[in-house]
Symmetry: C2
């Protein structure tokens, strides 16, 4: 797209986003590592394993600490409204947001009994529940402590916003575990949407808002940035749920059908179940009995025939359109908004 930045701004192949994410990791990683290294040895060990910097025995690992989407959004929002100076000042806050994300991953894996994260055994499977819980607790304290100690004038407002976001993340995780325990007919689409916004949208929105705060942006813009991130995050979740059923047409990501096999009440499934169509009844019947591999195709087809796939795709497009409106409200100049736009498109297309 000509007239933007020099690195292929908004290019549909996600090139600009890839560059932004690489640049983010280059400046946030040292901050993140220094923060983790400030922990006492017992906590440091678990955190370094979780981030992929160390093997379980403490030897160095290649390191797959995740894509750093959230810190990239902090820095892109700061740069968009405050230029390079604000971006530079927000690096510590970006690291803090990434620490919060990883604290929730450590705890969610314990609660969900998930055994794999970033292609490695989860921390609780290696170190036990207690150590994984404690390492998560320490990462939350580390993150909020970094913001509290940051002399930047926006740091207190950012810390308060991040703390409120943690409470919403807890609420989202609580709703997720509670919904999974209920029968397929007892869950409404609205409940799952609220849960997904709390669990996925809230921290992506908070990351954008923190960047805005570090740029000294006024309240209205900060809130619009938050809404932009939330809508993008929900669009991401909708597409992630579609991939969880039908697979990723472009990449080897999640195995197709994994969410159906796990009887997950993902957004397309709940949309299908509440559609009032004959296929909804068939789906409810399938979800009501133990999973058999032979049912997989039939279940996916029932979700599709009940309109679950089309609904999720329409919703994702609708959420992205709302995200764009919020972005325009936060940052009227399209040139400045380019980085955030590229990241949102990258996240929702998972194009890496």
């Amino acid at each position: 797209m000509p007239g933007r930045t020099g690195s292929g701004a908004g290019a549909p192949d996600g090139q600009e986003a890839t560059v932004i994410l690489e640049r983010t990791r280059a400046c946030v990683d040292p901050e993140l590592r220094a923060a983790v290294d400030s922990l006492p040895a017992s906590m440091r060990r678990i955190a370094r394993y979780h981030f992929g910097w160390e093997h379980a025995d403490g030897t160095p690992a290649a390191g797959n600490a995740g894509k750093a989407i959230r810190p990239a959004l902090v820095l892109a929002a700061a740069a968009a409204l405050g230029g390079p100076a604000a971006r530079g000042a927000a690096v510590r806050a970006a690291a803090a947001v990434e620490l919060i994300h990883n604290f929730t991953l450590l705890h969610d894996d314990v609660m969900d009994r998930d055994t794999t994260r970033r292609h490695r055994p989860t921390a609780w499977t290696v170190f036990g529940d207690a150590d994984a819980i404690l390492a998560g607790d320490a990462l939350q304290a580390l993150a909020l402590g970094i913001l509290a100690a940051d002399p930047h004038p926006a740091s207190a407002a950012a810390a308060a916003r991040v703390a409120a976001c943690v409470i919403e993340l807890c609420e989202g995780q609580q709703a997720d575990t509670a919904l999974e325990k209920r029968g397929p007919a007892e869950v409404t689409l609205d409940e799952v949407l609220v849960m997904a916004e709390a669990k996925t949208g809230a921290l992506i929105g908070c990351a954008c808002a923190v960047g805005g705060l570090y740029a000294g942006a006024e309240r209205g813009r900060v809130d619009a940035l938050d809404a932009f991130g939330r809508e993008s995050g929900l669009a991401f979740q909708l597409i992630d749920d579609v991939i969880g059923i039908w697979g990723d047409p472009r990449h080897t990501g999640k195995p197709a059908g994994a969410d159906l096999a796990a009887r997950k009440k993902s957004l397309p499934v709940v949309a299908a179940l509440s559609s009032g169509t004959p296929a909804a009844g068939e789906l409810a019947e399938l979800y009501g009995r133990p999973f058999a591999p032979d049912d997989l195709d039939r279940t996916a087809l029932a979700v599709e025939r009940a309109g679950g796939r089309a609904w999720a795709q329409d919703q994702a497009a609708d959420r992205m359109s709302r995200a764009m409106d919020e972005l325009a409200r936060a940052i009227p100049d399209p040139e400045s908004a380019g980085g955030l736009l590229s990241l949102a498109e990258f996240v929702t297309r998972r194009s890496n």
Copy 2:
């Protein structure tokens, strides 16, 4: 004690401390309840149960939210160095410290599989592990969020100090669980002392330091307040450990022998084990085999004959003497220091 305050300052029966604790609860409880009530319904329910304000079914309960020692120390330190104005300004910070304490209790109970807290079933036994972990996470965020949003000039320094303390508390709990897994001969006295300081001393020290910060005290005094709290906290732990073996001579508290039955490596036990006496060998042998009720008296006697009881009592006296030195360094005027002194004496005597 004439010439102090009007409420029986420093009276050996703990009357002044009782009055201070009552006054603390009267002003901190509303702040604490308002904070908990600001949580989303799913978290609020668990927190209100944990604090003893509600039964598991959500109906109101008589409420035994604990003695409020830590908030009392925050307010007493603030008052000692900044008078009633500082005390008033520190109420929110006092509530934040109490929220941190309760976050760690919620998580420790999950990790230790403890089933009783304040004479009621622990939260995880009622709501499940996931909800108890999430409620703890939310209380940590709530506490640090309250400090971040507090306009008081000391709030950022207090938040940073509390966050650092949380990391130390995690370290202490980690060390505790790790030490309990090791054989009785593989634990050194120094390790158990370091663990007890992190697990018990750190937050009591932090409470005193936060009060000093809210009084605008200089760094040296704040650090001396922290050291006063740490030493008092360790004295408390030593005496608590003695009570865990021989019972409380004055009150029906912990049942005598409970810690021995649980094969706990408490401070007097580890001191006895590392004494090099013949009784140490007998104790190691007793600790190395499954507990039989008949062994109880013999085990307690072995700890005593190996010098564990005398050591713990001497250590407690020594720690209290160090605490008094630190208190004098922080607050040279004995009149002003009266409240903190009463609280420290109350805590270490458990005289209520």
